[in-house]
Every structure is written in structure tokens, then in C-alpha cells.
């Protein structure tokens, strides 16, 4: 029964990891860029909610609604400033361009917030089902993640810009030939990816303490999840998030917690080697 409680807890957090990874994998799918600025943007999501809540007294969930569009705008700005010029250059350029953003954000963030841990005090009580207790904050975070993912899918499948994003993912050259403004679509996609990262960070802030450097851990988790789900497949990333969440919930029952990342990253490399299209994808 205890195990079941861990499982539920892991699953709920898995949804939150999942949307960060969706952002990573969306960016990869559209423009073949591994976003090394994903972690700092997750951290900015944490700080965004934190500042709005502590400075302006907004409720964290209300703050989330402000952080999301800010993430979108920041992402589009990053794309225009740093990535657009090197999008067709050799891969190292775009990787390092995103890493340059990482350095800039972390540098300014460290100067502004130091690296002391912060935490938000969000109390939503808990639900109990017999021996299983679910923290309210985690349940809300999972629901918000599901809503975000659903919103993304609705956007990608039912709006014109969303369809453009899918077209560019599929074949940028062909999309350009039929008149899709690919640079705008790429900027939008990068913005969406960053928005998902920021939302994920904002939700994480409601139940875990964080520093400006915390994003790195979640960024690495996004890589693992993205590869599990198949790079470029947002829905796969959500499922991957659930798997990772479950692993993190269940594994500590069988081995020391510190072994969990060993397990995660070995699994990550093995998946890359034997199923590079992800656990759910067909063979490439």
C-alpha cells in the first residue's frame, strides 16, 4: 500500500516533468536544436511565480497564468536574438547559442537571487484514500500539466499557427514552398517550448524548494524523458514523464535513493542505443 502511495506521488510529479520535456522535444522536433537553455528557463519559471507571489502577493496559481505568456515571449525573443542566425549552421553553433543563453540567464540570475534555496509556502491540504495520501499541491500541478498538454495539442491540431508548427516539423523546406513563414513559426515553436519549461518550473516551485541552478536537474530529466518518448514527439514526452515519475516514486522502495539517477541515466543511454526513436515510436 505504501508502494501504491509512492507510485501515485511519482505519477503526479511525472506530469510536471512531462511538460518540461514536451517543451524540449517540441523544440527539437521543429528545428533540431537541443535546447541547453531549458534548465535556466525552468528556473526562471520557479522565480517568476516566487517573485509574483512574494512581491505582489499574487496567489501562485494566478502567477502561473502570468508566467506562461512571459515564458512564450522570452522564448521568442531568445530565438530572434540567438538562434535564428545559426539555425542552418553546423549543429555546434546552435547548441552553443542556446548554451550562451544559459550562461547569460544563470549569470544574471545568480547576481540577482544568489544561489540560496527559496521555497514557496503553498498549502492545499491533502486528500486521503485509506493509507494513500495525496498532497493537494501535487494534484493541482498534475491537473495543470494535463491541461497545459491538452492546450498544446488543441493548439497544434486546431489552429492555423499550430498547423504551421506541425508542417515545419514535418518538412521545413516544403512548408516554406507553400508559403508558411518558417522563421516566425520557428520563433513561435521556441517560444512554446520555453513556455512549457516555464510552466513546469512554476509548478515545481509550488512543492519543491529551488535555486537559480535547480533547472539543470530538470533539464537533464527532460533529456531522459524526451529520449524515452522519442525526440520530437510531445505526447511521447508526456508518457516518458510518467514513466520517469513512476520510477522515481517506486525505485527508492527497492534501492537507495542515490542509485536512482544511476539507473535513470544508464537507461537513457541504452534507449538511445537500442531504440533511438523512443519507447513508443516505430523503428526509424
Amino acid at each position: 500500500m505504501q508502494l501504491f502511495a509512492f507510485l501515485i506521488d511519482g505519477l503526479l510529479i511525472g506530469f510536471v516533468y512531462g511538460i518540461a520535456a514536451m517543451g524540449m522535444t517540441l523544440i527539437w522536433g521543429v528545428m533540431n536544436v537541443i535546447n541547453l537553455a531549458h534548465g535556466p528557463i525552468i528556473a526562471l519559471g520557479c522565480f517568476g511565480v516566487y517573485l509574483l507571489a512574494t512581491q505582489l502577493g499574487l496567489h501562485p496559481y494566478l502567477a502561473l497564468l502570468i508566467v506562461a505568456p512571459l515564458g512564450l515571449v522570452a522564448g521568442m525573443l531568445f530565438y530572434r536574438l540567438a538562434i535564428q542566425r545559426v539555425i542552418d549552421a553546423p549543429r555546434l553553433s546552435s547548441l552553443l547559442a542556446t548554451f550562451a543563453i544559459n550562461m547569460i540567464v544563470i549569470g544574471l540570475g545568480t547576481a540577482a537571487f544568489s544561489t540560496n534555496p527559496r521555497a514557496l509556502d503553498v498549502q492545499l491540504g491533502s486528500l486521503s484514500f485509506g493509507p494513500v495520501t495525496i498532497l493537494g499541491t501535487r494534484l493541482v500541478a498534475a491537473l495543470a500539466s494535463i491541461a497545459t498538454a491538452a492546450g498544446l495539442y488543441w493548439f497544434l491540431y486546431h489552429t492555423r499557427p499550430g498547423k504551421y508548427v506541425r508542417a515545419v516539423t514535418n518538412n521545413r523546406a516544403a512548408a516554406e514552398l507553400v508559403g508558411i513563414p518558417s522563421q516566425q513559426v520557428l520563433a513561435l515553436s521556441f517560444g512554446l517550448g520555453c513556455m512549457l519549461a516555464a510552466v513546469s518550473g512554476a509548478l515545481i516551485a509550488t512543492f519543491f524548494p529551488f535555486t537559480i541552478l535547480s533547472g539543470d536537474v530538470y533539464q537533464q530529466k527532460s533529456f531522459v524523458i524526451g529520449v524515452m518518448g522519442g525526440l520530437g514527439h510531445p505526447l511521447g514526452a508526456l508518457l516518458g514523464g510518467l514513466i520517469l515519475g513512476m520510477m522515481e516514486g517506486l525505485l527508492p522502495a527497492f534501492l537507495p535513493t542515490t542509485w536512482v539517477p544511476v539507473f535513470e541515466f544508464v537507461l537513457f543511454v541504452i534507449i538511445l542505443l537500442v531504440r533511438p526513436a523512443g519507447l513508443f515510436g516505430g523503428k526509424k
Binding site: W28, N32, I34, L36, L81, A82, R85, V86, A89, P90, R91, L92, S93, L95, L96, A97, F99, A100, I101, N102, M103, I104, V105, I106, G107, L108, T110, A111, D216, Q220, F223, V224, V227, L231, P256, T258, W259, P261, V262, E264, F265, V266, F268, V269, L272, L273, P276
Partner: protein
Amino acid sequence: MNPWRHPGLWITLALTLGLGLWPVVLQKAALRETIFTILLSVALASSLNIILGYAGYISFGHVVFFGLGGYVGLYLMNTLGLSLWVALLAGGLAAALLAFLLGKAILRLRGAYFALATIGVNEAMRAFINNFAPFGGATGISLNFKVYQAYGGAANALWLVYTILLVTTLAMILISHIVKNSKFGLGLMAIREDEDAAEVMGVITPNAKTWAYVLSAVLPGMLGVLFYFKNGNIEPGDAFRLSSSIELLVMIMLGGAGTVLGPVIGAAGYQALRGFLLTNALFKNIQLSVAGILLLLIILFIPVGAVGWLRRRFPALRRLLP
């Protein structure tokens, strides 16, 4: 065509030697520490350049060899009481062995998939060492101060370490140049440009890539021993820090990938800049951001790096810019 008659090589070696001897001549310990950091980066960036610049495989996990070497070295010296020389050798071998095994597995992956796998390997290694009791788990290994006595005390040991580093750095530049001007290097560059075409032309790509990876791992393994011997302790978080690997990529990018001189200039420039920013009152707190902005400007406007830019701008200088 004779690689030994390449004036650029001798200029590079002479400049590095001059830089290295500067603190020796002045006998200044503070200057020695500054130059130590620069030389270490030069050697590490040059080693990464073999797999990255010559073979075209982007690795985010180069520091894994440095960290592993450091752990193996400190373990041998501290726990088994072996000498620094044995430790250096063992660190290099351990890194080479890891690279060989990894090479057989992950060098099949191309492009971003390889890059991601190297991140995975680095993180898995960090997490594993974090749990590995013989290497001290999360606390790591602290070198017993008595170990330094065999080398004439800590002060003398620092000069010894510095001398070994200088020799190793010069050797690395030489190796980088020899590889670039060899048949092996030609095969690697063919792989970088078009791996499938290289295979069709007869380059045994799996072997060439694996050996390039091994070659780029040996010196970091040895330098890890040297650095952590000097440092006195090692712990998993520092030894396998992802951003250390990325810093090396940045240095190569600044100087120019695939050239002999590029990583040398890039590493020296990066460390000099970092030193300046860290000591400058205005930039001290945001040095990382300033470095990031400079990196971005270089990527956007001088994507071929300093050496690549000079070679294009002044074709007459090509022979001086290896």
C-alpha cells in the same frame, strides 16, 4: 607536405613554452596558478578537438575522462600509496579504457544523439561515483597531506605538478598537429565532412572513431590525476560538472574547431577573459553573463573562430596558423 616543416607548429609550441616558463623565470607562485589554469585548458581543449574538431563528433561529456582520471589517481595515491607517476599512468589508462568501451557503444550514434549520449554517460558516471564507496561516495577523496612529502612538501609538489602540466600541454599540441597531418587524421576529417562517403572510400569508420575517442581521452585522464593531486581533494559534483565540458566546447569554438592553434588560442583567450571578469569590480558578479554574451556574439558573427577567421581574412598567413 612535411609536417615538421610547418612554421605554425613551432610558433605555437614556442609561444606555449614561453607562457609556461614565464612564472618559472620570475618564480612567482600567484602567476604560476594563473598560467596553470590556462595551460590546463589549452591541453584539455586540444584533446577534445581531436574527436570534436577532426572527427566532427560533439561531446558534452569530455570532463568524464578528467574526473575519472582524478578519482583513479587519488585512490591509488591515497589508499594504495602508489607514486604520482604510477597514478598518472593509471589515470590515463583508465580514461583510455572507458573511451574505448564507450566508443564501441555510443559512437554508432550520430549528431545530436551522440551529444545526448555523452551527457547521459557523464551524469550516469557522476551518480555512480556518488554511490561508490571505495571512491568515498558523495564526500569524495581527500588526499592525505603526507602524500606531498614524497615530493619535497606541498610547495615543491606544486612546482613539480606545474612542470608536468607544461610538458603534457606541449605534448598535446604536438599530438594534435601530428594527428592532423597524418593519414589517420585525414580519415577523421573525411568522417567529419561526410561519414557515409568516407566509409564508401574505405575509411574503417568504427575503428577510426574509436581510436580518435581514445586518443582524445588519454591526456584528460592524466591531467585529472595531476589537477586533483594539486587540488588535494575530489568530489563527484565538481569532477563531473557538465558545464566544464561545455566550457571546453566554448574554447574550441572561440579559437576555431579542427585547427591545431584554435583550441590553444581559444582556451588561453577564454581563461584570460574569465580571469579579467572575475577580478573586475564591474563584471565580477555577472562574469558568467558577460562571457555568455561574448560567446553569443562570436557564434553569430565569427562562427569559424579566431583562427578560421584569420585564415580566411589573410590567406597568406595559412602556414603560420596550423
